[in-house]
Every structure is written in C-alpha cells, then in structure tokens.
C-alpha cells in the first residue's frame, strides 16, 4: 500500500508553540517546554516542536518524525480534555530554585 503524506508543503499545521495559550489556560503551566516521548517512534521532543493541526474539531499534536498523534486537546461546553495516549512520557522542567 503506497500511502504518502506531504510534509513540507502541507499547509495545515503550526508549531507546538501555538498550544501555549490553550494548554496554559487548562493546566496553569506552560506545557510547550515539556519533553514528550512519542509512543509510535519513541523519539523525545519538546511539545513546542511537535506539529499541531489546528483546523479541526480539536487541536491535534503529531510527532514530526513518524506522524503519530502525541496529544489531543478538545474543549467541550463545560470541560477541556487532554488526551495523552500517544505519549509514553511527559517530562517537565522544574522551576529553578
């Protein structure tokens, strides 16, 4: 099966930086500096460096290496859902003391 996906010229994504506001509102911390380990390819990257598809019913962050979904963020009427089943580990820097 030859399914090819376009990378560089596919226009419908932005950097994970764009999640700083929406996630910060829910989590109260800047998760874009967190390192996420992709459950698909096991590569670790900051969330800010993931690809975010923002023209969708929710925000979908994908690993730029293998394309798998590492995080989904959906706002419903009364709740916000953060789905992390695509990430094995979320590692956050601690504030410097």
């Amino acid at each position: 099966m030859s399914t090819t996906t376009v990378g560089a010229d596919d226009p419908h994504w932005v950097d994970g930086n764009a999640l700083a506001g929406p996630l910060g509102e829910i989590m109260g911390a800047d998760l874009t500096v967190a390192d996420l380990t992709c459950a698909g390819c096991r590569m670790t990257r900051p969330l800010a460096a993931m690809r975010v598809f923002d023209r969708a019913p929710g925000l979908v962050a994908r690993c730029p290496g293998c394309g798998d979904v590492v995080m989904r963020l959906v706002r419903t009427t009364a709740r916000a859902l953060v789905d992390l089943r695509g990430s094995l580990v979320v590692s956050l820097p601690l504030p410097r003391v």
């Binding site: 930086n17 700083a20 506001g21 929406p22 023209r55």
Partner: protein
C-alpha cells in the same frame, strides 16, 4: 497595534498573545499574535496582518478603535524565546511577517544578534525604519541583513533570489561561537531555512522555529 494592559509585567522576547473575540451570542474566535515590542510594563505591540476573508484580523484592523477592550491571554510560550540572561550570540531569520517576534528580540538584544530578513521586495518589509534604528543604536550588538526574493532595490549587490545556503553561510556565526538560531515565517520558509542551517553545519539542537500556518486571519 499597541495594547495597554494594566498589570502587564512584560514578556520574554519571542512570546505571543492569544486574542479572543466574543460576539453577543457567545460565539468566539481566537488567534495568536507575536509580540514585536521590547519588554515593557503595561504596554506591548503586536503585528496584525489583515487576511481579506479572515475573521479576527479584519476586526482588529478595521473595526476595533483606540479605547476598545480586548480579551487576551498571555504572554505565552516558553520555547521560542530568547531570554535576556542568555549570553549566546543569536542568528534570527525571518520570512515576511515572521519577523514580528524577532523584532522583539532585536529590540531587547543584550547579546550579539544578527537578523536575516527575507521578503519579496523592500516594500513588503515590516519595521524597516525600526530595524535601521535598532542597528544604529545597538552598535556592534545588532546587525541586520535584508534579502529580497522577487524585487531588489536599484544598485542592490545581489539579484533577487530565494534564500540559499551561500547567503545563509555569509551571515551565520562561526561554529565556535555556539550561536542559537531562531527561525520564524511561513511553514515552507521555516522548513527550508531549518534544513539549510543544518546543511551549513548549525547544530540542530540549537535551532528553534515558529511556523505560521496558512493564515486563517
């Protein structure tokens, strides 16, 4: 566009704000805008490019007036930032309106900073006067190089062309400077420049990018 915010404590150069508009029936639309001013209390500047059939930018540009209130969240983003305490030299590369967050970095530069700014023509460039004065005021700290991809001014040393490895290599810091790179612009531009940086030997771990998707305005 300049916004006054009581209690705003300033930002870190590179950060953005999310602006949310709310209609009387509760419908909302939200967009992110990069902060282009140097960090200051109570006031900041964002760059809004009008997207003809957009939802938020035409409102901000054509409808909003001085004195109107806006709902904003920010400053946000802890990744695409240049902290004033970071002593490393920086290479900033901007494409089109992607220069906005880099403008903040130039204005607040405390370490050696080179900006490479690519636009189609001189008239497409933003902040032309501000960049010139930042360069003049910055002394040896700030250097600005323009590249034009379609139309160059008369007498310009290089014909208009896409940013290539040679141009980049001429502006880039030497390897032993351990410089950081910030690249901001349209998705294709950022992708190309990030690849070129790696090609000319820049450490991929010190390249930070911010892509503008297709503007939905």
């Amino acid at each position: 566009m300049v916004l006054d915010v009581d209690g705003w404590v300033g930002h870190v150069p590179g950060q953005h704000v999310d602006v949310r508009l709310t209609a009387p029936d509760g419908y909302t639309a939200q967009r992110s805008y990069s902060i282009s001013s140097a960090p200051l209390p109570d006031r900041f500047e964002v760059t809004v490019q009008t997207v003809a059939d957009g939802e938020v930018s035409p409102h901000l540009v054509d409808v909003a007036e001085p004195g109107d209130q806006l709902e904003i969240r920010g400053p946000v983003g802890g990744w695409f930032v240049r902290r004033p305490t970071d002593p490393r030299p920086a290479l900033l590369i901007g494409g089109g309106s992607g220069v906005a967050p880099l403008m903040s970095m130039v204005r607040a530069a405390t370490a050696p900073t080179r900006l490479l700014y690519s636009t189609r023509s001189p008239s497409d460039a933003l902040f032309t006067a501000d960049l010139a004065s930042a360069e003049a005021a910055g002394g040896d700290l700030v250097a600005v190089t323009h590249v034009y991809t379609r139309v160059a001014p008369a007498g310009w040393p290089a014909p208009p062309r896409r940013l290539d490895a040679d141009t980049l290599a001429r502006v880039a810091w030497p390897h032993d400077a351990h410089a950081v790179a910030f690249v901001c612009g349209p998705t294709g531009f950022v992708e190309t420049v990030a690849d070129l940086l790696v090609t000319i030997g820049h450490n991929p771990a010190t390249i930070r990018t911010e892509r503008f998707g297709p503007t939905k305005g």
